[in-house]
């Protein structure tokens, strides 16, 4: 049975359905839009290295970068040039890997049916022969080289390596040249069998779509009829201490302005349901907005002292196995900014929150969510993000209105005064 729900006052219609194979499908109806977007999500990301396959004795260790390597391999097919086949159907296909998932996506202004068939054909026919694996390895090495020149990404990984001793979030999503050498046909095939299973996947679709026709078509796909007897894989993580690995790192690099990234390591809450966890992340967003956002006294102070500019950014990541806050800025006063942020974070117990600001920020959060639905791509990405966690984004948006200042005051005390790392990239003397 397909489940249809019209969410008011936003007037957005969503269809939800679980196929016989267990794959979940979520369709956001956008009548009148030309673009149709599809994302297939596989819960295999870069932090999923240590995997318990169901028997305590069968613990597999996938080398760094396996999920990303596998993402590249999806397009390797002996019989056809997959991206060209998509292009011939008027669809452009691509894929990405994040810390917690692999996404294969395409968009088209024609029908979704044929490219969807092709997508599942492609998955049924993935080719792991040695020559293809070697070819992709060479391409990924070039990709890694390209990211070497991405200063902000390097800074981010330096911060992760300062915050964490063991957790895989500190590893580069693409892996390293050394770890790539450890990945071969066999390990890729094993990873594919472990994670690319219909009952673990979610498909999100957004656009002017006939939901029933799509579901009927999906039920016929060979790949989605595969049955698996083995249990679901369990991701393991090594024990991670509460403290940070290093308080501060300073590097001298080729930049025009100095860069500062400050990380606060929070204790992950593996006891929460996915819904509670996502709501908690929104609360953190509102808390940080209140304390350090553009309307805050801190922001005004930092601006006045010329510590920050428009690049200043605060973000939060709240996951079941790790959680942290990140402050980033380009600055001409890296030490003064680091000191300021460190001091304000350590003095938070006395800091007050502004109630009027909070009400405004809550309104802004709601408005910003609604605006996302004006873009097919952004709306589909938002759905993907939450649906893999089985969280209903519309219910979450409704729940924003119920967040109160007290909720923020409670989590404010979770900010540790010690587990803080600072990474500075200073201008190299020429």
């Amino acid at each position: 049975m397909m489940h249809k729900h019209v969410h008011q006052p936003m007037n957005e219609t969503v269809y939800r359905h679980t196929l016989n194979s267990g794959m979940r499908v979520e369709i956001l109806a956008k009548p009148g839009f030309a673009r149709k977007a599809a994302t297939l999500l596989i819960p295999f990301g870069s932090i999923d290295e240590l995997v318990d396959l169901g028997f305590a004795t069968d613990i597999k260790n996938f080398p760094q970068g396996t999920a990303h390597f596998l993402e590249h391999m999806l397009f390797e097919n002996q019989a056809k040039n997959v991206t060209r086949e998509f292009a011939l159907l008027g669809a452009s296909v691509n894929a990405y890997t994040t810390f917690n998932r692999t996404g294969v996506y395409f968009s088209t202004t024609n029908g979704l049916e044929k490219p969807l068939e092709l997508l599942f054909e492609m998955l049924a026919e993935v080719n792991f022969d040695i020559a293809s694996v070697d070819k992709e390895r060479a391409i990924i090495e070039k990709e890694i080289d390209m990211y070497q020149d991405d200063i902000e990404q390097q800074l981010y990984y330096d911060l992760m390596r300062s915050l964490y001793f063991e957790h895989e979030i500190a590893n580069d999503i693409a892996g390293t040249r050394e770890s790539l050498a450890l990945i071969d046909s066999k390990s890729l095939e094993a990873a594919f069998k472990t994670f690319y299973r219909p009952e673990m996947m979610v498909l999100t679709l957004t656009g002017d779509i006939d939901p029933q026709a799509i579901v009927d078509l999906l039920e016929k796909q060979r790949f989605l009829k595969r049955k698996n007897d083995i249990g679901l894989p369990l991701i393991l993580h090594k024990e991670e201490p509460e403290c940070v690995k290093s308080d501060s790192v300073t590097k001298f690099v080729d930049v025009a302005n100095d860069l500062v990234m400050v990380g606060v390591k929070l204790q992950p809450r593996s006891d929460l349901t996915p819904w509670e966890q996502q709501l908690l992340e929104l609360k953190w967003f509102l808390l940080l907005d209140n304390l350090f956002g553009k309307q805050s006294a801190n922001f005004e102070q930092m601006q006045k002292r010329k510590l920050i500019n428009n690049t200043f950014e605060v973000s939060q990541t709240i996951e079941s196995s790790f959680a942290h806050l990140i402050f980033f800025a380009e600055t001409n006063r890296p030490q003064a900014l680091s000191d300021y942020l460190l001091r304000s974070l350590q003095d938070l117990s006395g800091a007050t929150l502004d109630l009027q600001d909070f009400y405004r920020q809550r309104k802004k959060m709601i408005g910003d969510f609604i605006e996302i639905f004006d873009s097919i791509t952004q709306a589909n990405n938002l759905m993907s993000d939450y649906s893999l966690r089985d969280v209903n984004v519309f219910e979450l948006i409704k729940a924003v209105d119920m967040i109160e200042l007290d909720d923020l005051l409670k989590i404010k005390n979770d900010i540790p005064t010690k587990s803080i790392s600072i990474v500075q990239y200073r201008r190299k003397q020429k």
């Binding site: 088209t108 025009a256 709601i366």
Partner: protein, 427 residues
């Protein structure tokens, strides 16, 4: 979608009425000639204006007010289009009917926008020096940030090189080298000039009642009458009698390669559509010849693409390559171009490029800001309503012979390499 074009008071107004979107965008534009001596004034002025009005004297006060209007966004920036400098103030507001309890926010949002543009906080006729200095610092740091983005920074160096004697080399976001010289008096003068002398027009897209919008514009957004001719295409060019090549040293893992061609085919040219189709076949898709040869077959690069700048009549090729491979990659680009001038072009490739063009065009009508930008530019260039069907028909009529023809009009102008110099080649 219904289009209306009219004058309200002195100001030409274009309405694009559609219930497709949840937000409404109002764009008020001030247009002058793009001149070397006013680039920085016009780049900074929108930032100074959005930094505080008489009623909301600081950026923070404005931010607070806009947040309470459900995250209404007001931004201002300068664009260079043809020989025009266009300062746009764009406001995006969520349609009240999609908000909890249907609050009334549109009128208030208009009044904030109006205050930002027409009622700035002045002291004895001048912007505040502290605000001016702050915005100047922020712009300066923003522009110098580009250095970290190796692709953009390299692109800017390439533009400086290829267009050394043309206005195209300047960025409407501001010029870092001369920003320090900018004075408060220049900003004051530019503001006066903008609100008294610039051509002003307004474009609105969203779900609204025409009468209500007429009233809001009449009440909040009035500007004096001003009319003068603007050329919306960039006609500056050079006769290429010698190909130029330069290598700028930088210690990067990857080397960036930039190649510039000219053929002076611009938006209004009869070969405009063939040029669009050619560009997609040449380098602007993952099925393109450049991508297939240089990334997939020769494995010289992770990314390679081409871009056609119709406003200027130029085409660029960009690639990221291993140091030392720049010459091989450059030769490969020329080979691909030669093969398109004289070699075999399959009809399947042509159809692919046309369908890719159609897809991009159709889905640009899914974005309110893109519709607005297209409608504005079309109105400026042709004084008429843009027709999607007409564009599609013209692109579908492109033949293989047309593609060959535009390929042979391309003249190599400059090659620019940004990255490490191979030591053994220096000897």
């Amino acid at each position: 979608m219904t289009r209306k074009f009219k004058k309200i008071g002195n100001v030409p107004v274009q309405y694009l009425i559609t219930d497709k979107f949840k937000s409404l965008i109002v764009s008020i534009k001030f247009i002058d000639h793009f001149r070397m001596d006013s680039i920085n004034q016009r780049a900074l002025l929108p930032n100074v204006l959005t930094g505080g009005s008489r009623s909301l004297p600081t950026r923070m006060a404005i931010d607070k007010e806009l947040a309470s209007l459900y995250g209404t966004d007001i931004s201002g920036s300068q664009q260079k289009i043809g020989e025009a400098s266009v300062i746009s103030f764009d406001m995006s507001v969520i349609n009240e009917k999609y908000l909890p309890q249907r609050p009334e926010i549109l009128d208030r949002a208009f009044s904030v926008l109006s205050d930002i543009i027409f009622r700035p906080k002045l002291i004895k006729g001048s912007f505040r020096k502290t605000l001016f200095e702050q915005e100047k610092r922020l712009l300066k740091e923003e522009l110098s940030t580009e250095y970290h983005d190796k692709f953009s920074y390299g692109y800017r160096q390439f533009k400086n090189y290829m267009f050394a004697d043309e206005m195209f080399r300047f960025s409407a976001r501001g010029e870092l080298d001369t920003l320090d010289d900018l004075t408060l008096k220049q900003i004051n003068d530019e503001y006066l000039s903008m609100i008294t002398h610039d051509r002003c027009e307004i474009h609105v897209i969203g779900d609204f009642s025409e009468k209500a919008m007429d009233r809001l514009i009449a009440k909040y957004l009035q500007a004096p009458d001003s009319a003068f001719e603007i050329d919306w295409l960039d006609h500056e060019t050079r006769f290429v009698n010698m190909v130029r090549k330069q290598h700028q040293q930088s210690d990067m893992t990857q080397t960036r390669l930039y190649i510039g061609f000219r053929n002076n085919i611009r938006n209004t040219d009869s070969l405009y559509y063939p040029m669009q189709i050619f560009n997609i076949m040449f380098g602007d898709s993952d099925q393109s010849r450049l991508f297939q040869k240089i990334r997939e077959v020769d494995q010289l690069s992770y990314d390679v693409s081409s871009t056609y700048v119709a406003n200027k009549g130029v085409l660029f090729v960009f690639a990221g390559i291993d140091p030392g491979n720049e010459n091989a990659a450059e030769v490969a680009v020329f080979e691909v171009l030669e093969s398109m001038k004289s070699g075999f072009i399959g009809s399947e490739d042509l159809e692919l490029a046309k369908s890719s063009f159609e897809k991009r065009l159709r889905q640009s009508f899914d974005s309110p800001s893109q519709i607005l930008q297209r409608a504005f530019f079309h109105q400026a260039l042709y004084q008429s309503e843009y027709s999607l069907e007409e564009s599609l028909a013209k692109s579908k009529a492109v033949t293989i012979a047309d593609v060959r023809q535009v390929a042979s009009t391309l003249v190599l102008d400059s090659t620019f390499v940004y990255g490490r110099k191979a030591v053994e080649n220096d000897a």
